[in-house]
């Protein structure tokens, strides 16, 4: 009887409860887990995944998916680093175009937006399933990254650039600020704006949305562009953190991102879920990664445990939605 009374709250806060249980377990097993410095470590490490996963959440809410985020991240990071380090040489005119920090970052972000927009355009214009269109982009963007970097890392962009990934502001790491701002903006968009309501409506029932006058294609292109721009933001953060653009940066990031979205309770069928849930999902993955290393669990077992957690999260989610 009493349990029934609490049930709605249990369901609503299930990700949070899972996170608390996880933290409790790890802190019992390791006394190093619940320290300030470890907390900042985890937050800094997951800020890239949160940034990407916010974009992924918007896409999944429209019942789409984006597999290209890891490659887009690598390409935009590499281009930003390359522009900062080498500029664009124009041998024919014997000219050399240099870039300021802001300029290089803006171009990197714009590239991310355009690649995402291209995904959206292909998906809406040619009716290509998102899985296929973004799978193609995954390969294309990775290939372009190798072409641009010639397979070698681009390193040494300087301290100013490294500040974005490694610096602190008002006692909080800069990447955490950036991801928090991204989350706040996305939260407002999904909850308070017309675009947000359209996103949920399209995921709930696309043809009904179309019939009721929503420009479905436009909304989708906007959503994929945002995701591309956020992947670029992630790329700039990773590059700045290492002070080095690695050609194979972001490999399999799409999987971590989808995992965060799913663990956070967003339905892959679209129309149901929230940005805040995804943030919790990303924190759960980050805490799990951190905890398994703190406890020195064998690398083989770590993968098994992570998979099991994802499975468990989805099963709990399914059984709850049945009872609604």
């Amino acid at each position: 009887m009493e349990l029934k009374l609490y049930k709605p709250y249990l369901v609503k806060f299930q990700s949070l409860i899972a996170l608390l249980i996880l933290c409790l377990l790890i802190s019992i097993l390791s006394d190093k887990f619940l320290t300030m410095s470890n907390g900042w470590n985890v937050m800094r490490q997951i800020s890239v995944n949160i940034t990407i996963s916010v974009g992924m959440t918007l896409i999944v809410l429209t019942a789409g998916i984006d597999l290209s985020v890891g490659s887009v991240l690598a390409l935009c990071g590499a281009i930003t680093a390359g522009l900062l380090k080498n500029g664009i040489p124009l041998p024919s005119a014997d000219l050399f175009v240099g870039f300021t920090l802001l300029g290089a970052i803006v171009i990197g972000l714009l590239l991310g937006f355009s690649l995402g927009g291209f995904n959206g355009w292909v998906i809406t214009k040619f009716k290509v399933p998102p899985f296929v269109a973004t799978l193609a982009m995954l390969t294309i963007a990775r290939g372009l990254t190798f072409l641009y970097t010639e397979g070698f890392p681009i390193s040494g962009m300087g301290e100013k650039f490294a500040y974005l990934g490694t610096g602190w502001l008002f006692g909080i790491p800069v990447p955490v600020w950036i991801s928090a701002i991204v989350v706040a903006i996305a939260g407002v968009i999904t909850n308070k704006t017309r675009l947000g309501r359209y996103i949920y409506a399209i995921g709930g029932n696309e043809s009904a949305s179309r019939l009721s006058g929503i420009n479905v294609n436009k909304v989708k292109i906007v959503v994929y562009s945002i995701a591309g721009g956020l992947a670029a933001t992630g790329g700039i953060l990773v590059t700045s953190r290492l002070d080095s653009a690695q050609p194979n940066a972001g490999v399999s990031y799409e999987l971590d991102s989808i995992a965060a979205v799913v663990i956070g309770g967003t339905s892959l069928a679209g129309g149901k879920g929230s940005v805040l849930g995804t943030v919790l999902g990303a924190i759960i993955i980050g805490v799990l990664n951190n905890g398994l290393v703190l406890l020195n669990v064998s690398p083989f077992w770590q993968q098994v445990v992570k998979g099991a957690v994802i499975l468990l999260a989805v099963i709990i989610d399914k059984s709850n939605s049945k009872n609604d």
């Binding site: 390791s30 190093k32 887990f33 320290t35 410095s37 470890n38 470590n41 490490q45 190798f146 010639e150 397979g151 070698f152 890392p153 390193s155 490694t166 990773v238 953190r241 290492l242 002070d243 080095s244 690695q246 050609p247 194979n248 940066a249 490999v251 990664n289 951190n290 290393v293 703190l294 406890l295 020195n296 690398p299 083989f300």
Partner: protein
């Protein structure tokens, strides 16, 4: 009727491809395929491009095939190379055991295979194997490790991809020395997938559990650079000694600046050029090649790093 046309079409196709295969045996320049495990890593890019450049310089046609760390894709490359009439294969395997079948396929088709850097676990498959001696290289690093730590201290090992032979060859070489000293204690052993970012994040977490370590041994230089960044951010870079492997440019620079203690210098260019020269000798009629040609890994430390930076 339609089915008959289809079958006829298939027959025509078989005849045509069969015909092409026979054509390329005489008069045309010899063709050499370079099949490498991955182009996702600068080290392998150097290996593949040197092999291709050397074969081209010797007057042969050449093409690079990227197996993307996928043994199944590698099998496709072998089949394509054999059917499209390549006369030799310079090969860097994805898997020591899984790649044997592929090499055997080439052998049966009369195409010699010369392995570069990575071994296949069979002495009867490849014509010759020119290998980087990772195991011995890491024995040398292990000895230097013991000496630098004065036989006492806590250390962390960062492994590469756990499914990769090189990961374990390096780890085993290192431990064959270091495990003999009870004063040296490994407090954590974790994988960072040969990746700089992953190494930084993993070591950040490890430092929370073990803030008092004395050294980090990394399975490659990218991880050593990531480990150094984690240590620098935690203000421990001066106290903790970092060891890498590969001889990558940025690691050599870091050794020069005293950030990294040592690395094992591998010679991808020598291996690739030797393999190309062997292919030439094979075309000229030579058949008795040594099965294994070890190419030594040289240890680079702060004392001799100057010789390596000026060399390139």
């Amino acid at each position: 009727m339609k089915r008959i046309i289809n079958i006829l079409f298939l027959l025509v196709l078989i005849v045509i491809t069969g015909g092409c295969k026979n054509q390329s045996t005489e008069n045309t320049p010899k063709k050499v395929a370079v099949i490498v495990s991955t182009l996702n890593n600068p080290w392998f890019v150097v290996l593949a491009e040197t092999a291709a450049a050397k074969t081209r310089a010797l007057g042969y046609e050449t093409k690079i095939f990227d197996s993307q760390n996928n043994t199944a894709l590698e099998a496709d490359h072998f089949e394509n190379a054999i059917t499209s009439g390549y006369n030799a294969i310079l090969f860097n395997s994805t898997d020591a055991d899984g790649s044997i079948v592929n090499v055997m396929k080439a052998k049966e088709a009369g195409v010699p295979v010369f392995c570069m850097d990575r071994e296949v676990n069979s002495t009867k498959a490849a014509t010759s194997q020119i290998l980087s001696d990772s195991y011995s290289g890491c024995i040398a690093i292990g000895k230097y490790f013991v000496q630098s730590l004065k036989k006492k201290g806590n250390y962390v090992e960062l492994l590469g991809l756990v499914g990769d032979n090189n990961t374990w060859a390096r780890s085993k070489g290192f431990h064959s020395v270091v495990d003999n000293y009870p004063g040296l204690k490994m407090v954590a052993q974790q994988s960072a997938d040969f990746d700089r970012n992953k190494a930084m994040e993993v070591l950040e977490s490890i430092l929370q559990a073990h803030p008092d370590i004395d050294a980090v041994f990394c399975g490659n230089d990218a991880m050593a650079m990531g480990a150094y960044q984690a240590l620098a951010a935690a203000g421990k870079a001066n106290r903790v000694k970092v060891f890498g492997f590969d001889g990558a440019d940025d690691a050599l620079q870091a050794i020069k600046e005293g950030k990294v203690m040592a690395t094992g210098m591998q010679y991808p260019k020598i291996m690739a050029e030797t393999a190309a020269l062997y292919a030439q000798k094979y075309f000229n009629g030579k058949r008795d090649f040594p099965q294994k040609v070890p190419v030594a890994v040289e240890m680079v430390t702060g004392e001799n790093v100057r010789n390596y930076i000026t060399k390139n």
